[in-house]
């Protein structure tokens, strides 16, 4: 019977071409989206799951007090690991990790920039399961000069992975020998690196004296516990290891974070620069994937029940010649299954085309092993099953429920059967589509606002680069001589995103209880003039080489320090400085954050060089800078970035969300319109006689279009009314992430409304125009 039912279903699908086309198109697009999103969600929620000992591996987190705030960070001091191994029996292995910046490898005369380098304890490859293509997991990091490199890096340097024993040089500091070649680190690992070097023998080359003491919280520490040990008690024991000065209360505590939680559970951590997952984003994107799939399911339900006049006859006959209801339900479900499976096959083909774009958009890479494994197969099967159930069950039960005698009466089906449910479903489709498009409008508006926002400094025609070994102070006079360069300055960190904070310092007029923190930016003397910063009071630095006694604070800092009359007061960071000026507040972090307290001082340690050019001279300026850089940096590679690009990088995640929403909302609208196109076609079919009569009676063309579109447009309007508050609510929440954001304007809703109604109207008109233009005599005759 199944075989025959399959044949029959195929015939039906071929005969009702429009029905099949609308459904297959909608389902294919929706399923492609759903599969991609599922892959992404699965990947995001399964970070670091490939480590066999992952269930007893933890990262040490430190709770401490900073500038009066309780904070948690993923950094801990170096002695913790050594002491823990000796004194806590529950600990099986410990791994410390430290990651230097701007690492360049030398191979012969070649300089190769390395993506990310980790200095790690020898147990690293035993705790974590990063697969070696070449070399021995147990011994690769034993050799003090050993280096484990990734497949990619090996190919970049040597053009081969068979390179054990090859010599390399890390900057000018360390000679290395390749002791292992690593399979590229999977993208679903929170640890990303290309080069792995032993911690113990090399850390001294990178960090200064005192960096390996209990007070330097510079390292990520990972713990492998023995089986069956509860992490809480170990956390307490770790805390106890930390020496405590006589008479002081403990303010620093350690606790353990399970390895699989790191990717999604680190949003609250300070000083974390790694890309972090965001559970609410995952939920949101997952929800949207579901909505798009549901919109396509609704098309199926609506299209199937809309043609029930035809289906009813079929049901009636079959019941009279002996079909049970269960048989018919199975038949109709089978039809749904065939349609959905066919769409799924097309979806997989479409996936092939979309995947590269999706990978770019989501910043992920899916390896063939990942794609041709069990998980995607289960995802696809799950989506097929879900779709069949959601789309197929209601029509199957409804169509099979007809009483045979009524079903055979043709007039019985002239009326708008099941129109109530169809209307509700159409409204839900367009509610989602409307909400999404409104969100897109608001996100794009906010991004435009962010990009145009007055930051309080100039960022146009400025590019920057980092120095490694050379001192910017030596480079600046050389660069200034270049004709194409209009100005040069330098700072300790980027003005776009200042990250350094100080707390626990003394200053004049400090209340005994107060413990404020200040963001600190070290700069070259001409820095304020270069960026056009403004003073509200006092003066900038003295125009001499090193004015280390002056400090400029911003308006917020005056308030944070609680100073009435700040000019002339002293602050002691490393040395005693005097407040000589108050700078007007400017944005030194992204607009997600309010402007906070900042101190600007002159510093010896500058590594960010800014170069201002003029229009038409940028290429020359870059070439000149590169030339001078090359003369002074033996071990680094020149890498520059324009400031407006770096600034846009701060909103990378939002830009991505905006792009995703744009795509999703277009899909939602497209699939919804496919649905009403199908319904309009059926409705045109059903009302052909009515329209012909109206035409004979003298209705004009536009009159007919109006009569025909009226009902659908009404539904779309209701959907807009329902979707608007949802979008408003969601976007109000979203905008809270920004300290500086737009006010949601009613024009957004109006604009989105006009857009959606126009699209819906055009869609329906395509069909109604055809009907309205038909010769009335023909349709009246055939009826």
């Amino acid at each position: 019977m199944i075989r025959i039912q399959i044949i029959q279903s195929f015939r039906k699908l071929v005969r009702d071409r429009l029905y099949t086309l609308v459904n297959v198109t909608g389902l294919t697009i929706a399923m492609t989206t759903a599969i991609l999103i599922s892959l992404w969600v699965y990947d995001e929620t399964h970070f670091d799951h490939f480590h066999a000992k992952g269930d007893r591996t933890y990262r040490v987190l430190t709770d401490w007090q900073f500038g009066g705030n309780e904070e948690t960070m993923a950094f801990s001091p170096a002695p913790l690991a050594t002491h823990a191994l000796e004194e806590i029996p529950e600990v099986e292995r410990m791994v410390r990790i430290w990651s230097p910046w701007n690492v360049v490898l030398h191979y012969g005369d070649e300089k190769i920039r390395v993506g990310k380098t980790l200095l790690a304890d020898t147990a690293f490859l035993r705790v974590f399961d990063f697969e070696l293509l070449n070399g021995n997991t147990a011994t690769a990091l034993q050799d003090p000069n050993g280096a484990v490199i990734s497949e990619d890096l090996a190919l970049r340097i040597f053009g081969s992975v068979d390179v054990l024993g090859q010599p390399l040089q890390l900057s000018d500091k360390m000679p290395l020998t390749v002791t292992g070649v690593l399979k590229n680190v999977p993208s679903n690992s929170h640890l990303q690196f290309e080069l792995l070097v032993p911690f113990d023998h090399n850390i001294d080359n990178f960090v200064g004296e005192g960096s390996l003491t209990w007070t330097a919280f510079n390292y990520n520490t990972y713990v492998l516990l023995r089986p069956g040990i509860a992490p809480d008690q170990v956390g307490d024991k770790l805390t106890e290891l930390m020496p405590l000065e006589e008479g002081k209360t403990r303010k620093t505590f350690f606790h353990l974070q399970p390895l699989p939680d790191i990717h999604l559970g680190s949003g609250h951590l300070s000083f974390s620069d790694a890309p972090r997952g965001n559970l609410s984003n995952i939920r949101l994107v997952g929800l949207i994937g579901l909505i798009i799939l549901l919109i396509a399911c609704i098309n199926y339900i609506n299209m199937t029940t809309a043609r029930q006049a035809h289906m009813a006859r079929d049901t009636g006959i079959r019941k009279i010649i002996g079909a049970r209801r269960a048989t018919l339900i199975r038949q109709y479900l089978l039809e749904a299954f065939i349609l959905v499976t066919f769409s799924a096959v097309l979806a997989i083909l479409l996936l092939e085309i979309c995947l590269p774009y999706f990978e770019q958009l989501s910043d992920k890479h899916f390896t063939p092993e990942q794609l041709f494994s069990r998980t995607p197969a289960i995802i696809v099967l799950g989506i097929i099953l879900f779709t069949v159930i959601i789309a197929g069950v209601q029509p199957a039960f409804r169509l099979s429920s007809f009483k045979p005698l009524e079903a055979l009466k043709t007039n019985h089906w002239r009326g708008p059967q099941g129109a109530g449910l169809r209307k509700i479903l159409v409204v839900s489709q367009f509610t989602c589509a409307a909400a999404l498009i409104i969100c897109v409008f608001i996100i794009l508006q906010q991004l435009a606002f962010v990009k145009a926002h007055e930051l309080g400094y100039q960022k146009e025609y400025i590019f920057s680069f980092n120095t490694v070994d050379s001192d910017p102070k030596q480079l600046i006079p050389l660069l200034e001589k270049e004709a194409s360069i209009a100005g040069v300055t330098a700072s300790s960190s980027s003005i776009i995103d200042v990250g350094n904070r100080y707390a626990g310092f003394e200053y004049e007029g400090k209340e005994p209880e107060a413990d404020p923190f200040l963001y600190v930016l070290g700069v070259h003397p001409n820095f304020p003039q270069f960026f056009g910063l403004e003073l509200t009071d006092g003066r900038w630095f003295l125009p001499r080489e090193m004015d280390t006694t002056s400090v400029i604070i911003n308006e917020k800092a005056v308030a944070a320090l609680g100073l009435e009359d700040p000019l002339g007061k002293w602050i002691e960071f490393r040395n005693k400085t005097t407040i000589t000026g108050i700078a007007r507040d400017f944005h030194f972090r992204s607009l997600h954050h309010p402007i906070e307290q900042l101190a600007i001082s002159q510093s010896r340690y500058l590594n960010e060089v800014y170069i201002k050019t003029t229009p038409g001279n940028t290429a020359k300026a870059i070439a000149a800078a590169e030339n001078i850089f090359a003369q002074h940096e033996e071990h680094a590679v020149f890498d520059y970035q324009f400031m407006d690009e770096s600034y846009d990088q701060l909103y990378k995640s939002e830009t991505r969300v905006g792009q995703l929403f744009l795509i999703f909302s277009c899909l939602a609208i497209f699939i919804s319109c496919l649905g009403i196109f199908g319904l309009a076609t059926f409705s045109a079919e059903r009302r052909r006689k009515e329209i012909s009569i109206r035409k004979v009676l003298g209705a004009s063309f536009s009159n007919l279009i109006y009569i025909f579109s009226r009902d659908f447009i009404k539904l779309v309007c209701i959907a807009l009314l329902l979707g608007s508050p949802v979008a408003w609510f969601a976007m109000t929440e979203w905008l809270q992430d920004f300290s500086y954001h737009i006010a949601i304007s009613p024009w957004v809703f109006l604009g989105a409304g006009i857009l959606i109604i126009s699209i819906a109207f055009v869609t329906i008109s395509l069909q109604s125009m055809r009907t309205a233009l038909q010769n009335p005599a023909r349709s009246l005759h055939t009826d």
Binding site: D314, I317, R318, I320, I321, G322, L408
Partner: protein, 229 residues
């Protein structure tokens, strides 16, 4: 075979009640060929549908092969009708998506007849009605007479005891109608019980008994006899 006692069928329209059938008492012997006649709206089709278990009486008793159908639930009625009753319609009601062969085969599928047996039975029927050459065509490729022939073939393929025909020739030319009626007559001679609804006196003559309906009542047989004589 069929015993109807005090059958009533009515519809309620608000407070008003419209009777379609009233006080119907009929006995039909196995092997008879009965024609139900009467003007439009006299309740012929409703009576046929009640006998065919597609519709239910509001009152009265209906025994089919001595089984009390009026007491059965839907499922048992469906079973009964599936196994013992075949239907022919004025509008043929073939399934558009199925070929002639498949249309005839479908009732057997629903009776869960095995594949090889199905093939044999359908081949027999095709042969008997001379439509072997048409077996792979779809209904819309056939003339009305041919479609109805398929309709008859489909109705009898499951070897029902009772064949119900609702104006089987109503949509056909007289020559085509004649072929159908002769086919029915032949089936009757082979022992099939047939009940047909018809307007047409000449069609009624193929049968051995006429039940005439008038506004929902059965016209008295005496009257009928008088008319005939």
């Amino acid at each position: 075979m069929i015993t109807l006692r005090n059958i009533e069928r009515y519809y309620n329209h608000g407070l008003q009640r419209t009777w379609v059938l009233r006080d119907i008492n009929i006995d039909i012997e196995e092997g008879s060929f009965v024609s139900i006649m009467g003007p439009s709206g006299s309740g012929k089709t409703t009576l046929l549908n009640i006998i065919g278990m597609l519709d239910q009486a509001n009152k009265g008793e209906y025994y089919f092969l001595d089984e009390p159908v009026h007491k059965f639930n839907e499922r048992r009625r469906t079973d009964l009708h599936k196994h013992y009753i075949g239907f022919i319609f004025q509008a043929y009601h073939l399934i558009d998506d199925l070929t002639v062969y498949e249309n005839i085969e479908t009732p057997l599928l629903y009776k869960k007849v095995g594949r090889s047996q199905r093939r044999a039975v359908v081949a027999d029927v095709l042969d008997r009605f001379n439509i072997v050459a048409k077996k792979d065509l779809f209904p819309h490729q056939l003339s009305g007479g041919q479609q109805q022939l398929v309709g008859v073939a489909r109705a009898i393929v499951g070897k029902p005891k009772l064949l119900l025909a609702d104006e089987p020739t109503g949509n056909l030319h007289s020559s085509q109608g004649k072929i159908i009626m002769e086919t029915l007559s032949e089936l009757h001679k082979e022992g099939m019980t047939i009940l047909q609804v018809t307007h047409d006196e000449s069609n009624a003559e193929y049968g051995d008994r006429i039940i005439e309906l008038w506004d929902g009542f059965v016209k008295e047989p005496e009257q009928l006899d008088q008319n005939q004589s």
